[in-house]
Structures are given as structure tokens and as C-alpha cells.
Amino acid sequence: MKMRRLGHGRVFLTAGITFLLMLAIASAAADDRGWEDILAEARGQTVDWFMWGGSPAVNGYVNGYVAENLKKRYDITLRQAPVKDIAEVVSKLVIEKQAGKARDGHVDLMWINGENFRTCKRNGLLFGPFADRLPNQKYVNWEQPSVYNDFGEPVDGLESPWGSAQMVMIYDTARLSEPPRSVGALLDWIRAHPGRFAYPAPPDFTGSVFIRHIFYHVAGDVAHWQTSVDPAAFDRAASDTYRVLRELAPALWRKGETYPESPVRLNTLFADGEVDFSFSYHQAEASRNIIDGLFPETVRTYVFEEGTIANTHFVAIPFNAADTAGAMVVANFLLSPEAQLEKADPDVWGDFPAIDPRRLPAEWQKRFSARPRGPATLSDAELQSHQLPEPPSELLIKLEKGWERHVLKGR
């Protein structure tokens, strides 16, 4: 009898332990199964990705490498829908939301950032939050304000990073051995060397980012402007910015009576030796120009000690997207180390990674640091440790308008 009772006990104990174990395994697997469910749902879906279609390099990357790999790995058909301006798609979503069209929207994924993202978020036009559910988001450095804020608007997981841009200063080591390493030092340099510096006239975006740096320099604190802004404080800081730029004008190229109309013109002036600096939002542009023979081999780039303005561009999913699972899988693939590395290849596109290579496994880190980057491009570590966030787009627009009125026209 003793043995039978022991036998029963053993069965119950074994059953109980097995049951608990299964529960434990099941609960541990619940998160992954969520993603597995999404992958399963995404199989066979067609994802319609609406994006700016003006760059052959971007289109080639998306329709070539990305589309092929999505089909091969996840059986997802990617359909790129090129548009002239994503604002058109945003306007359509606003109308669809008002009309109550909450399902079967024709847009599954959008390439978006800045003002357009703000409009979407404020009007509830986005699916999500979804970005934190993507397995590859662990490679993104969400501590950076230029990543967790999109032009001052908190991302809150409603969009997933794709790539990054950062302003870099360009100079020629043959003409200038030690460039001014901060904005203040640059302003002093300009005053000491009249006629040797120019910036494109806002609202050109590259010219606009220059005045944003002056704004941060004059206003002092950068983080302050990310959250809700006191209009009086902004007006004071903006007036100081315009005053600094107005007083700087006589020391600029052509005594500030005219400005280059585009960054292309600025690069020409720099290459011709009319000015001693250029600058660009594209971290690899100087290298590209050296390779193309437009800049001499001695050209290099640098960033300010206090940092230069960087922004991230993202992909987002509309609230009424028909293929949300497919869209999430696409967004996740775009963040994968292999897709980011391919994108960063200057012969493919050259757009900088949105992921932080320091979060990758050692083997991937080596591949990222060994990638062809050209003679004048800074390392990812140097760039990512000297970043300032963009100000909110409404401040940006006010600064551009204010520059036109108070600096260009002198009113």
C-alpha cells in the first residue's frame, strides 16, 4: 500500500511540476509568439509603401535589395508608391479619418518625419505604438533626443527609425590646418576673415540648419526648446539670433549683400576657393565629392564640440492600414543590421544608420566600422556622440521667416 500511495503522489507531483514548467515556458514564449504571430500573419501580404520618389538611389535600394529580401525571407510583396511630397498622403489620411474610414486604407507604410509626423500624431492618424514591439528596435539608441524626439515631438513608438542625417562642417586642410571647433569660435573666425564664409539663404534647408545652430548658441540651453516653449522667451532668443546674424553680415561673402541660393552653389564657392567652409546635412557628401573629383583630396569634415544638429527619418503605419502585420515586418527588416549596412554603402544610397553600431554584436560592429566611408567621413562614434536635436518645426518655420524679414531685408 505504501508504494501505491507513493506512486500516486509521484504522478501528481510530476504532473504538477510539468504543468508549472509548461506555464513558465508558455509565459516566457508569449512575447516571441507575438512576433511569430505577426510574421505568420504577414506572409503573403502586399505592403504599399508611400514615400518620396525623387531619388534614384533610394528607389533602387527599396525596390532592389529591400523588396527582394522581404520576398525571400518573409514572403511579403513590397510595392513602392512614389509621391512628390508625403504631405499629400497626410492630407488624404486626415480626410479619411474625418470620413470614418477606419479600415482597408490603401497606405500601409509611410516614409515620414518632422512636421508631417506631428500632424499625423496630433490628428490620431497613426497605428500603434508599434515601434517598441519590433525585435530589431533593441539596436536603436532611444536615449538620444534626436531619436526619441522627431523635431521636438516625442515619437512614443508611433514611428520606427530608418536613417539619420547630421550637419557636418566641411573645410580644406590645405587651406586651414585647425578649424574653429565651436560655433562661438566659428563666429570669431568669420569676423577675423571677412568675405571667406557664406551660408545658403533660408528657407533652403541647409541654410536653415545654420541659423538653428546660431539660435542654439545664442539661446544657450538646447533641451529647453524641445518641450513646450514660452513665446516671449523664444522671441527674445530669436531677436538675439537675428541681431547676431545681421551684425555678422558685413563679414560674410559679398559683404552679406547676397547669399548662395543653394548648398550646391555653396559647394561650388568652396571648391573654387571663394569661401573656406561648406557644410551639409549629409555626413558622407564631402567624401562623395572628393571621389567625384569636385573637392580636392585634402577636404575633411568635423562637428562642433557642443554637437551639431541631427535628425532621424522614420517609417510609420497609418491608422487604417490594411496590412499592419506586413508593415511591421518591413519596418523591422529596415532596422536589421544587414539592411542598415547595405543602405549605408555610398554606392547604394549612403544614408547613415538609424541604429547604434555599439549595440550590435562584435562581428557586426567590425563590419560597420570597416564599411567604405570615404576619406572625409567621420566615424559613427564621433558623429553620434556630438548630436543636438532639431527644434520643434514651428520654431524652425518662425526662425526661417524671421531671418528673411530681419536679416535679409533688415526690417
Binding site: R254, T258, I397, L408
Partner: protein
């Protein structure tokens, strides 16, 4: 019958050009149902015309168009007169004059920028030849106050155009009238003033008006070779239209319509002037 023959091309012009113009006028008059503005109003035109920069831009554009047309017309008359006999004998001259017609204004603007920039080709040649000390001594010819680069570009493009139109007229009328003038003891100036000028005047007037209309409304050359401020009317219209503030767009269209009105006014004025001159017996 004539209407029937003309109707296909008239139809296309009315639909595309006329339709676009009508849509533009409607938007400039404030009708934007998508943004909830359903009534016509003149506020955009008022905004444009009362802008403190409007007069400056207007006179700048008038100056550039007027000077370009005048200089191009003047040089073309001399060129046409000189070439009348030459072009009969040589096809090459004619061909050389046609080449600039095929090159877009934008390409010439860029070429002028390369040639005449302070660090441009001519400047480097001049430094190399020792005419000037350094690039800084080279005169300012682009992005300058007087629009020299812009005017040079227009002159280069428009002289062949006007010259070829005058040549076509001069060749047809032949030399007989000039010989009659010689037998009547008219000197060279009188032959030109009373025989040649009246013959070429209609073609000269039409070609000059076309050149004026084009240069008044052109955007790309002043955008590249002009100053950031003050800007010509077409550059201003473009900047308003592409402004991040969507409400500035109707103002851009309104500016465009103002440009069109000015050109139409110029045409009407030219007609009136010619008729008055004829009535007063001025031989033109």
C-alpha cells in the same frame, strides 16, 4: 472653314493654357474650397500689391527686361544689316546664328556663372595674364546690383532670335528700294531711317515685344545670377508658391497674374504707340 482648321490647336490652347490660367485666377481670388475659403476676394492681390517689396521687385524686373530688350534689339539691327549680304552667300553664318536658339536659358545662365564668377574662368585667365592681381579684383558681374550677368545672358540668347527675324524680312524686300534711295541722293542714315527701318519695324517690334515678355516673366536666370534681395517678380512668385505656409500659395499665383497683366499692358501700349505714330504721319 478657317475656324474648323484652327479648332484643334485652339482647343488645346484653350483647354490647357486657358484652363490653367482660369484655375489660377480663381485660386488667386481666394477660392480654396479644400481649406474652407469659398468666397472670392481680392485679399491676395492686395497683399501682393501693398507689400513693401513689390515696387522694388517690379522696377528691378522692368529694368532687366527693358535693358536686355533694348540692347539686344540695337545690336540685332546692326547685325542684321551687316549680315544681309553675307548670309545670302554663306549658309554657315546663318547656322552659327541658329545655335544659341537651341541652348536653354538655364544652361547659358550656368555657363555665365562659370565664366564670370569672381573665381570663374575669365577671372583666372585674367590673373594668369597678369591683368589683375587676384580673383578679388575681378569686377562683380554676377549676383550684383545691376544684374549684369542676367542681362548678358539674355542678350546672348536674344540677339540671334531678333537678328534672324530681321534677316528674314530684309532678304525678302531686296535691294531695289535702297537703290532707289541712292538715286534720290539719300545718304546712308536717311536710307536707313526712311527705307530700312519702316520695313523691319513690324518684325522688330514683334520680336522685341516677345523678348520683353519673356525676360519679364523668366525665373531661372535671375534666380541663379541675381541677388537674394531684392528679387525679380518671377523669383518672388516662385518663392511664395513653394513656401512651407500653404496660404502663401495664392499670393504666388496672384504675383504671376500681375506679371501677365504687366506684359499684356506692354503689348497694348506698344500697339497704341504705333497707331498714334502712324496717325501723326511718322513713317514707321
Amino acid at each position: 472653314m478657317l475656324t474648323l482648321l484652327l479648332s484643334p490647336s485652339l482647343g488645346v490652347v484653350m483647354l490647357l493654357f486657358g484652363g490653367g490660367l482660369a484655375l489660377g485666377i480663381v485660386q488667386a481670388l481666394g477660392y480654396l474650397p479644400g481649406a474652407g475659403l469659398g468666397r472670392l476676394s481680392l485679399m491676395h492681390f492686395t497683399a501682393v500689391l501693398t507689400d513693401p517689396d513689390f515696387l522694388q521687385s517690379f522696377f528691378l524686373t522692368l529694368y532687366i527686361a527693358g535693358v536686355s530688350t533694348a540692347i539686344a534689339a540695337g545690336i540685332s539691327i546692326l547685325a542684321a544689316l551687316g549680315l544681309v549680304s553675307l548670309s545670302e552667300r554663306s549658309r554657315v553664318i546663318h547656322f552659327i546664328f541658329q545655335i544659341p536658339l537651341t541652348v536653354p536659358h538655364l544652361v547659358i545662365a550656368i555657363a555665365v556663372a562659370f565664366l564670370l564668377a569672381p573665381a570663374g574662368l575669365l577671372s583666372r585667365v585674367a590673373v594668369g595674364l597678369g591683368w589683375i592681381q587676384s580673383a578679388a579684383d575681378f569686377p562683380l558681374l554676377i549676383n550684383d546690383t545691376w544684374g549684369m550677368g542676367i542681362i548678358l545672358t539674355y542678350i546672348w540668347k536674344e540677339i540671334p532670335f531678333i537678328t534672324l527675324m530681321l534677316l528674314a524680312v530684309l532678304r525678302q524686300t531686296g535691294r531695289d528700294l535702297l537703290d532707289v534711295g541712292r538715286t534720290l541722293k539719300a545718304n546712308a542714315w536717311q536710307r536707313f531711317r526712311y527705307i530700312t527701318l519702316p520695313i523691319i519695324f513690324p518684325a522688330l517690334g514683334a520680336a522685341s515685344l516677345i523678348v520683353f515678355a519673356y525676360t519679364f516673366g523668366a525665373f531661372e536666370v535671375p534666380f541663379l545670377l541675381g541677388r537674394t534681395y531684392p528679387m525679380t517678380l518671377p523669383v518672388w512668385a516662385y518663392k511664395q508658391y513653394s513656401d512651407i505656409d500653404l496660404m502663401a500659395r495664392p499670393e504666388g499665383i496672384a504675383t504671376g497674374i500681375v506679371i501677365a497683366l504687366v506684359v499684356m499692358l506692354a503689348v497694348v501700349l506698344a500697339q497704341i504707340l504705333t497707331k498714334t505714330a502712324r496717325k501723326r504721319g511718322l513713317v514707321l
